[in-house]
């Protein structure tokens, strides 16, 4: 299994600003994943982050809006840029060890 922490746990932000979410894993993993969960919805994969290479984005998500860093095998960040109220969601990071383990999530509210 894996223990994953995320910071911040929640934030309220103004339209047009950016927020960086941090994800820390207690073991080295090849891939880390970022999901968005809009209110009342299921999880949607934003991107896959590999250490040492560019993240791979899913359809509908672009690097300019959701830049991702993966500086080492235990850490990743997701930035939500130029935010609008439509970005209000829970953002979760996860790792896949034949089972996906999730961080506690970051609840983002954009005013």
């Amino acid at each position: 299994s894996a223990v994953i922490s995320q910071k911040p746990s929640r934030d309220i932000c103004q339209r047009g600003t950016s927020l960086t979410i941090q994800c820390q894993v207690d073991s080295q993993v090849t891939m880390m994943f970022w999901y968005r969960q809009q209110p009342g919805q299921s999880l949607t994969l934003i991107a896959t982050a590999n250490q040492g290479s560019e993240a791979t984005y899913e359809s509908g998500f672009v690097i300019d809006k959701f830049p991702i860093s993966r500086p080492n095998l235990t850490f990743s960040t997701l930035t939500v840029s130029n935010m609008s109220p439509e970005d209000s969601s829970i953002y979760l990071c996860s790792v896949d060890l034949d089972t996906q383990y999730f961080g506690p999530g970051t609840r983002l509210t954009v005013l």
Partner: protein
Amino acid sequence: AQTVTQSQPEMSVQEAETVTLSCTYDTSESDYYLFWYKQPPSRQMILVIRQEAYKQQNATENRFSVNFQKAAKSFSLKISDSQLGDAAMYFCAYRSVYNYGQNFVFGPGTRLSVLP
């Protein structure tokens, strides 16, 4: 592409009773994993149970068990002796053994209420 369907947006159960949550999926693959995750109001995604498709035996984890019907592509979750702490969103999920990580598909979820 694989899809996961949960036809019950909401379910309720009386405390101490049994409830079954439905999940069906569509895939052309023969080997894969299936999961049930629980998401309480705290929003933490918690793994409830995991099933490998090549295993015919249904997975069981304490009060949680599954009915895996591979030919029917059905994967229901049974919760026995329901407790107030079982109230949560439940997501069924599919994971291919190929396309590592990028083929993890979630269903839309079922909100379970437990009535005292």
